[in-house]
Amino acid sequence: MSTNVVMADKQHQLRTAPFDARFPNQNQTRHCWQNYVDFHRCLKIKGEDYEPCQYFKRVYKSLCPNDWIEKWDEQIENGVFAGKI
């Protein structure tokens, strides 16, 4: 999230998900999905307390509708998530 920075005022830096060449078109659904899956993969590979994994969390929080995030979180808790983590 370091490449797209807009200075709002001195205290807050507004940022959003940076451009990803794998998802160049208008439909960013897969961008959202991929970052959600990558966040959980990162937690699994690097451990729960690895701070740089939060990069993926910030990206998917910017991109994904909150409904989807809640639905997927529930699915992960219930063990029925469709992605490969």
Partner: protein, 88 residues
């Protein structure tokens, strides 16, 4: 078989103004067909082989340019942000 006037070589010679018509309509159809084929084979949103290659875009590196014409973005300079951990 009797075809319409203009579909045989002999009648084209009598109505040569039909030639640009064939040229433009033909190239339009060809372009539409070829572009659809490009979408099927190369688009990141299409997965032909769902078992072996369900996510074709995962094979792309950050410099891969899919767009035919990209005046605003130089893809050879694109890269993942430094804070993104490597989990590939």
């Amino acid at each position: 078989m009797r075809l319409m006037k203009g579909l045989t070589i002999a009648s084209i010679k009598k109505h040569p103004s039909l030639i640009p018509l064939f040229f433009f309509v033909g190239s339009g159809c060809l372009f539409a067909g070829l572009y659809t084929l490009r979408l099927c084979l190369y688009s990141p949103d299409v997965s032909i082989d769902r078992k072996n290659n369900p996510f074709p875009y995962l094979k792309w590196d950050p410099t891969h340019q899919y767009k035919l014409y990209s005046p605003i973005r130089d893809y050879s300079k694109e890269e993942f942000p430094k804070e993104r951990p490597k989990i590939d």
